[in-house]
């Protein structure tokens, strides 16, 4: 009797599990076909001299060549520099803007949320083309304004001078990346228990102390999410490079993603491009792991 009951429960559990897996199946199929399989294929083909004509096993040949490839190494350096330069600014500015806006009236909050989010909904290409016009060395408004203000005396080639080009890219990346985090931070602030903030204020905490000891711990999980996502997006910076500089001048703004594209679609060296992609993924995993470790030690879930 007991055994029968046990079997019935087991069967019921099995049935429940099968039902759950069946519900998950469409998503899992999609995930395996369009995510896991391409990732596996990418890693697999990175060990081949895979071109339009050839498909020969070269083992670690592509990886060895990569670390002797000055263009790749330059692109790797640029990518890391872009991440290190842009991500902290994006995160700090987003938090600052969110905290500032959160205290404003609802309509001001909505207005600025819309303004900051505008580049996100406008689309990277459109925004980037506008920036290209702004930076244009012959007719760009930036040179015009700076000359008119007496700050510069002759036009600067912002995207063509290696002293400025990567920072110009970082600026555009910044403007296109802050919208989403601001929305998330404002939402996170809204989820905080305001009575804690009020209690801190009654206890005499100033604005900075309220943020440091009440709000910051509360938005830390959101910060972790924003840091990781912004880092990944910055590592994968491609369209800005393609539209603004094509990696120039002399590869000073080339990123790994841009080189992956150039290598795969211009040079038709798919295996070599996939090896670049694998290296990029490794760097993203390392950065993300470090970020998770650093933040997780402070987050109280």
């Amino acid at each position: 009797m007991q055994a029968n009951k046990f079997m019935t429960m087991r069967q019921a559990n099995q049935r429940e599990a099968i039902t759950a897996y069946l519900f998950l199946l469409p998503a899992l199929i999609f995930f395996f076909v369009f995510v896991i399989f391409p990732i596996g294929q990418g890693i697999y083909t990175s060990f081949f001299n895979y071109t339009m004509k050839d498909f020969n096993w070269v083992g670690l040949g592509n990886y060895i060549e990569l670390f002797q490839d000055s263009v790749f190494l330059k692109s790797l350096g640029n990518t890391i520099l872009l991440v290190v330069a842009a991500v902290p600014f994006i995160v700090v500015f987003s938090i600052f803007a969110s905290v500032t806006l959160y205290e404003k009236s609802a309509w001001i909050r909505s207005l600025f949320r819309g303004i900051f989010y505008l580049p996100v909904v406008t689309g990277t290409v459109s925004v980037t083309v506008v920036w290209k016009w702004i930076f244009d060395p012959l007719t760009g408004i930036l040179n015009y304004v700076l000359k008119d203000a007496g700050i510069i005396t002759r036009n600067i080639n912002w995207l063509g001078d290696k002293r400025f080009a990567l920072w110009a890219i970082a600026l555009v990346l910044f403007t296109t990346s802050v919208g989403q985090p601001i929305i998330l931070f404002i939402a996170a602030l809204g989820n905080l228990d305001r009575s804690q903030v009020e209690a801190a204020e009654i206890d005499g905490a100033n604005r900075a102390q309220v943020f440091r000891y009440v709000e910051w711990p509360g938005i830390l999980p959101t910060t972790l999410y924003v840091v990781v996502i912004t880092t990944i997006n910055s590592f994968q910076c491609f369209s800005l490079i393609q539209l603004l500089t094509s990696g120039g001048p002399n590869y000073n703004t080339s990123t790994i993603m841009y080189q992956v594209y150039e290598t795969a679609f211009r040079l038709n060296r798919y295996g070599y491009a996939n090896a670049m992609g694998v290296i990029l993924a490794v760097f993203i995993v390392i950065f993300s792991t470090v970020q998770f470790r650093l933040f997780n030690s402070q987050i109280d879930y």
């Binding site: 071109t51 339009m52 004509k53 930076f135 244009d136 060395p137 012959l138 007719t139 080639n157 995207l159 063509g160 001078d161 290696k162 500089t245 094509s246 990696g247 120039g248 001048p249 002399n250 590869y251 150039e262 795969a264 679609f265 211009r266 040079l267 038709n268 798919y270």
Partner: protein, 427 residues
Amino acid sequence: MKKFVVMLIAFALLVSVLPASAQATEITWWAFPTFATIDETSGKYEQSLIDAFQEANPDITVKLEMIDFQSGPEKIVTAIEGGTAPDVLFDAPGRIIDYGKNGKLADLNDLFTDEFKADVGNENIIASCSDGENYYMYPLSTAPFLMAVNKTVLEEEGLLEMVNMEGERLWTTDEFTALNAALAEKGYMNSIVFCQNQGGDQGTRAYIMNLFSAQLVNPELTEWTINSEAGIKALQYTVDEVAAGNLTDGITYNGGGAIEQFVAGTVTGTLLWSPGLAKNNADAVSASGFEAVALPLPSDDGTPELEYLVNGFAVFDNGDAAKIDAAKKFITFLTDDPVYGPQNVLATNAFPVRASFGDLYPGNEDMAFYASMTKYYGAYYNTIDGFAAMRPAWWGNLQAALTGEKSAEEALNDFVADANAAYAAAQ
């Protein structure tokens, strides 16, 4: 119900035993927007050609897909690797011969008859359609790449006599230098030495090559040789002229961007121009209030060696002989038909490769000038092995020279080393 099933089976049997010719063969044509549009609608002209072809060949159905120059090449590569390549492609030899060398195309050797070769009568054009062993592109039209200047500015500033406007308008590097210096002195910005990416990079290669008669490649087309004394002199000259403000730094412009600045009247010249570009930009040039005049590239001896465009069709080998045959029938219709052949040449605003098409632009002085330039066609090097890898080496080193990161000699030595390595790797 039973009756319906029986009829269905009978129909299926009937279809299966019909001769192949009675069943429509469906082929796909991917077209870059090379032809002039009808009503400014992309693909409308191409569809009219398909309609005419299908009327004459009801056993073949052609599906059209328009692709653009920005994402088209990437789309083709993806389709090739995914096994979904089109049957027909209208493009230029650079990419087509590369696909051919990689075994992706059906050869068109049977179309290159003695009659056709004799009609073309130009070995360079015929050679541009081949990888040396097989023909992969069936050519339709050709046009030279030149430069252009703002004639209105020259007239207004009293500098028109500095340019030879007679006959073939040949001119020298010294005359080019003097004109740029005179315009710069009057506060104008001159031609942009564009090198942001590979867009239009043939223009700067031809410009550097011509300045002091350097040779880009050896006559056998097996080795890049632009790092000669003449080549280095030309690049150093360019770097110096940009630094002096007589030419314009083009690190952030490709060929298209440089042409836009010329068309907008921002700069007085462009190092890349062609009959097609002239036609496409005619309204914009007019709106900017000036007249553009095409010139051959300047050279020290006054005899240019020009790059040129060849438009043509390729047929992908998708493993279906019927489709290959249908595709060949389609492309011969588009290029050889006595009505649609010349009409298609006109739609490219270029010149027919077939001499038998005659003068398609009677009384048109501009086109007569462009036609006179075809005798200055140089060797066609776009089909050299490793061509695709040569291009980033070109504009990358041009950038390095303009930014001062490399001397002219270092830049050209590095270019030649990289380009020759790409050639060797592709063997």
